[in-house]
């Protein structure tokens, strides 16, 4: 059975390693913070200017001066640091953030990503997405395998305006975990419990290679 968004977040959480600095985008990526494996300690970065994001505040703790990049009220953990946005993107550009998880509208078999603009629709802006994808050492895309019309979001080429090129390393969807090897395509590494390789193949328009050691996700 395909995962729900919480399942996707749980699977992504398995990618976390002790000591990592991580930037989580809005949507499913934000949920990953709820599933950090026991015994490992990570620091969450928010590009508006903070390291060490904690849980949402209680009513009493709410502070208008303390928000994340999604403009949500948050708290901080011990060891947190505030800085300005220029420094925040400096650390992102310099590759100090170990892992970036973000959503996407389309991902290509080359690792290109489109997630900021749909032609003929009101464009709200790219925010920090272009900076993140151009600079992050390790980018995982968290998204549904297909769009609401049922069309594949894993394509030979993105059809929407790009956010960045050759940058996505891994895609985790409700159906599968896929690595991207530039020049090769999507490598199917894991399928969601009860999802067949054939279903993933059907729903992936970009070139798909089934890894010889493809296995079922453990959630």
């Amino acid at each position: 059975m395909a995962l729900d968004k919480y399942g996707i977040a749980k699977r992504i959480a398995q990618e976390l390693q002790d000591g990592m600095y991580i930037n989580l985008g809005i949507g499913i990526p934000t949920l990953v913070a709820n599933y950090i494996p026991e015994g490992i300690s990570v620091m969450l970065q928010s590009e508006n200017g903070m390291l060490g994001i904690g849980p949402y505040p209680t009513e009493e703790e709410i502070d208008a001066d303390l928000i994340n990049a999604g403009k949500e009220t948050v708290t901080v953990i011990p060891g947190s640091v505030f800085f300005d946005s220029a420094e925040s993107f400096g650390m992102i550009r310099a590759g100090k953030v170990d892992l970036t998880v973000l959503g996407a509208m389309e991902v290509s078999e080359k690792g290109d990503i489109a997630n900021w603009k749909i032609p003929n629709k009101m464009v709200k802006g790219m925010g920090g997405a272009m900076d993140l994808v151009a600079s992050a050492k390790n980018i995982i895309v968290a998204m549904m395998h297909t769009n609401p019309k049922g069309e594949s979001k894993l394509l030979p080429e993105c059809t929407l305006p790009l956010t960045g090129v050759s940058c996505v390393k891994k895609v985790i969807t409700e159906l599968a975990v896929l690595e991207i090897e530039p020049g090769v395509g999507f490598i199917l590494k894991e399928t969601a419990p009860g999802v067949t390789v054939e279903e993933v193949q059907t729903k992936t328009l970009g070139k798909l290679i089934v890894s010889p050691d493809v296995k079922e996700m453990k959630i």
Binding site: T58, I62, K71, T73, V74, D84, S88, M130, L162, G164
Partner: protein
Amino acid sequence: MNKIVADATTAIHDIQDGATIMLGGFGLCGIPENCIRALADKNVKELTCISNNAGVDEFGLGILLKTRQIKKMMSSYVGENAEFERQLLNGELEVDLIPQGTLATRIQMAGMGIPAFFTPAGYGTEIAQGKEVRVFNGKHYLMEHALHADFAIVKAWKGDPAGNLLFRKTTRNFSTSMAKAGTITIAEVEELVPLGALDPDQIHVAGIYVHRIFQGNQYEKRIEKRTVQIK
């Protein structure tokens, strides 16, 4: 060194129609509420506003959008504002969308006297159109230019008569860089403290960058997304 002015009205008295203004803040966090009200009262028009976001309907830069004082916005994300959308779709408003890190760094570089620099953000996208591309260590970069403004307006937590500023939590955002990039920089603060009251090791913006400072009042500090822990 006394840069104190009476209030927001005095601080912005020489901002004229057509001025380019940077305004600090991320969403509604850390925005210069007093100066935005004063700009609305002065009804100065045709402004180019450099600010990461465009406020919401009725608050933040949304106030100046509603009164049609803004000709152009330079931002990274402008999506929380129905009036903004209406003006944009009607061609009444120009918008220059800039990747957030590029925006922050272009402003930072203006305050450092560096006219141009290279960043990888936007390479291979429509943002790269017309920009010089260079390869360093096998990676592609775009040349971007420093971004200056006639006026920079920021809101800090504490400040002193020399213009030294201290910010609280995530209100620092674009404000520290903007404070250094304005031809004239105006700071409104929640609390004006005496000279010498701030620890010289702990100042976020040195007074050398700040031309006018005043203690603001009636801060609303609206919250866009009030997210609360579910116990």
